[in-house]
Amino acid sequence: MATSSEPVDDPAVRTGDTGSDRIRRGGRGMDTIRRLPATLLFSLVVLAVFLAAVALGSVLIPQDPFEQDLLNRNVPPSLEHLAGTDNFGRDVLARLLYGAKLTLMVGLGGVVSALVFGAVLGLTALAVGQWLSVPVYGLIDFIRALPDVLLALILIVALGPAISSVMIALGIAFAPFFAYVARAAWMREMAADYITVARTFGAGRLRILYRHALPNIIGAVITLVAVILPRCIVTESVLSFLGLGVSPDTPTWGRMIADGTPLFERAPHAVLIPVLALSTLTLALALLGNHLRARVDPLRADERRRKTDR
């Protein structure tokens, strides 16, 4: 139970825990790694493997991701084809590694543009005033009312098929999620006494936004990135499936899943392996998002430190 009497019974206060302590404790090398929580370690390893695959994919795997071998279609995993082959006899592992780069690019690009269209635009409009926030959120409500795949389709047709237009289309389709989370957090912040105090010091609207409100909003937004990123990857696969994503030949994870699904009974590995890769990556990103949020949050950072100290 919290005591509010003086002097406080708070270990952090009693030990005079200050910023310099924190830096000293940070340490370097193996010691630091051993002290990392298992979940964070897991997500870092997965992301490292993923990035290595993006960088070295074509070097490690001798097979050509595009080469068709019609005599060896739907072969289950073997020594020659570590992850088997698909319906056209193309090596699944080679395609998986080759597609990792595009998948990551499209996913990240989509999330970042959704964050910009949703959270950055929304918060700026809210801070500037009602005359801007009402029309901006009206537009966002309108976007939300359309099915996201349909909206993305229209946008890609309008922008012309290219990776950049897929990213922008995903960004606009997913922007409402960020906008709504940002608005809810903003409303909560505006009711806080410390915002009132900042106003009495003559702080301007934009200063209140980035200095006082943003540190309290950012956590919710980071968590949302981890949720929306995999959705972007999956939506891209739907677009590819409809022939409007990245060019139909080019392998992305979403496209591999979409292509393999009708033949699931004959070649389950062609679906399950990309699904496993996608869900492992998603999990790793979600866990990383969680840790990032705890890191930017002094309340939770303190809690965590106290736990590891004992």
Partner: protein
């Protein structure tokens, strides 16, 4: 004869990954029928947990010691099977909590809610619930007991809501009533009424009562015996009179002395200056809050208030919740836009500037808000928080902002190390000191204090008020001190203005208002102040 309630070696802890937290430690007391035991303590002292333990309503994470015993009429409540405990709960043992609005179901008429309690504890199934509820409403002094049952909680005032809660507690004909801060959320005059009601009920029904409160003065008017708790331990117990006059423990002495010192402070009127210049002058100030929707009528929060505050003086602005006293403070610092009248700050008319305070002018008037937990951003360090006024008001102190911040903290009794801390690492009193330091950084002429000590524990209240008084002397600050606690106002203010429904009904020197109030409303307000029973 065995006592009605016999609590022996009660211990409650909260086991956690980071070690067990001991919330209540080795508490022992007895209660006879028809007597009242007061439990006094600050937040976190374990007083509420002690009350909840009687009804086995402790939070799930709490663990009661194996050695603890709570005997009610010879049976141990802690080992009783749950179904028999349920029959006692709300029956022979009843409880009333602090926030009546939070305890009543918002979507059910209050009559049905009390009726449910009546039905649950009825001895025979064929009773007439309706008449019973009416009888209870009459007993707790609700108006129109035959019709008020059809109303919803939000249609009742706070005092009426608490009366409904009492009716519900009485529905099961209790022998023991646990009252956990039953009047803390209420205004002073309403508090006095509820306390009188509780005393009457106890007399008529011969109730045994456990009265839990942070306010020693309230407890002293209610209890026969008292138990003082601190950090889960009993630091003092005994008959009320004895504890008040001859407290054995140092902590009880501090508590009582803090109250007394508030009471005994000298209120010197006149600083010797012939006619100090007015710092703040309100002239027929009117503030309206727009209703929601286009057609809803506006709410007039402040209605033509005129007031003058001279330099270096402290004006206490007193009133109950909703009287408009905080709105005046907000209007002066420019957080609320008045709809009429004028505010003259340092001789400058704010209405003439169309209520837009130029940035450079803002530094002359600062505000400290009630809740020190809400007014510091949880994600900014103290240094970040104190840095804000330098940036937004473009202050360039000669010695540099850092030295100025350290000096400011030392002025309010904190050391420079506090700068690197986050608010959650500070206690309530320390936070409020930081808020005061922050407000003083622009070196204001006028400081508005909006209920700044009401969220603090009693002995911390005194320290903060004392600090404020010293700062006022050393800096020749003018203070507009908004509050509802007249004891606090008596300690700090030179003059008092009493507000009621948006208007000032009385304005005079502190001593005069408190000793010879003229207006009938001030008289009822002042007679309602809870006082320590013994002189």
């Amino acid at each position: 004869m065995a006592p009605l309630l016999d609590v022996r070696r009660l211990g409650i802890s909260f086991p956690g990954a980071a070690g067990s937290i001991r919330a209540v430690d080795d508490v022992t007391w007895q209660l006879e029928a028809g007597r009242t035991l007061g439990i006094v303590g600050e937040s976190g002292s374990g007083k509420s947990l002690t009350g909840l333990a009687l009804l086995r309503l402790l939070p799930a994470a709490a663990e009661v010691d194996d050695a603890s015993r709570i005997f009610y009429r010879g049976q141990d409540l802690l080992t009783l099977p749950e179904d028999r405990m349920r029959a006692l709960r709300g029956g022979a043992l009843a409880i009333v909590f602090q926030e009546p609005m939070a305890c009543l179901h918002p979507l059910l008429p209050v009559g049905r809610q009390v009726g449910e309690a009546v039905r649950r504890h009825a001895a025979r199934p064929d009773i007439r619930v309706h008449t019973q509820v009416e009888g209870l409403f009459a007993e707790v002094g609700l108006p129109e007991p035959d019709r008020i049952g059809r109303r919803y909680p939000h249609e009742l005032s706070g005092g009426q809501q608490q009366r409904v809660m009492l009716a519900m507690a009485l529905a099961g004909n209790p022998e023991v009533l646990v009252a956990d801060e039953p009047t803390t959320a209420l205004d002073v005059t309403v508090q006095a009424q509820i306390l009188t009601l509780l005393r009457e009920l106890q007399e008529h029904r011969g109730l045994a009562m456990v009265f839990i409160s942070h306010d020693l003065a309230v407890v002293s008017s209610m209890a026969h015996d008292v138990l003082v708790m601190r950090r889960g331990r009993m630091v003092e117990d005994g008959p009320m009179q004895q504890v008040l006059t001859r407290p054995r423990s140092q902590y009880a002495q501090v508590l009582i002395a803090a109250r007394r010192r508030l009471h005994e402070s000298e209120t010197d009127t006149g600083h010797g200056d012939a006619a100090p210049e007015p710092i703040l002058h309100l002239d027929g100030l009117t503030v309206d809050y727009a209703g929601r929707g286009l057609r809803t009528a506006k709410v007039r929060a402040v209605d033509g208030v005129s007031l003058t505050l001279a330099g270096g003086r402290t004006m206490g602005l007193v009133g109950e919740s909703g009287s408009g006293k905080s709105t005046i403070g907000k209007a002066v610092v420019g957080l609320v836009r008045p709809s009429g009248g004028d505010i003259r700050l340092l001789g400058r008319s704010l209405a003439a500037d169309r209520w837009r305070q130029p940035r450079a002018f803002r530094r002359h008037c600062q505000i400290v808000l009630q809740n020190p937990y809400g007014s510091l951003n949880p994600r900014l360090t103290v240094a970040d928080a104190l840095m804000e006024p330098f940036v937004t008001l473009a202050l360039r102190p000669a010695e540099g902002p850092w030295a100025r911040m350290v000096a400011g903290l030392e002025e309010v009794g904190l050391d420079g190390d506090t700068l690197s801390r986050y608010p959650h690492q500070l206690s309530g009193g320390q936070r409020q000191r930081v808020c005061i330091a922050r407000a003083l950084i622009p070196e204001p002429t006028l400081l508005i204090c909006d209920e700044i000590v009401s969220a603090l524990d009693v002995h911390v209240q005194f320290q903060v008020l004392d600090l404020l008084k010293r700062l006022q002397k050393s800096r020749r600050l003018s203070l507009l001190f908004i509050g509802h606690d007249l004891e606090v106002i008596r300690f700090i203010a030179d003059d008092i203005a009493v507000m009621h429904q948006g208007r000032i009904v009385e304005r005079a020197g502190t001593k005069q208002v408190l000793e010879e109030p003229q207006h009938p409303y001030s008289r009822s307000l002042i007679s309602a102040i809870p006082r320590l029973a013994a002189a």
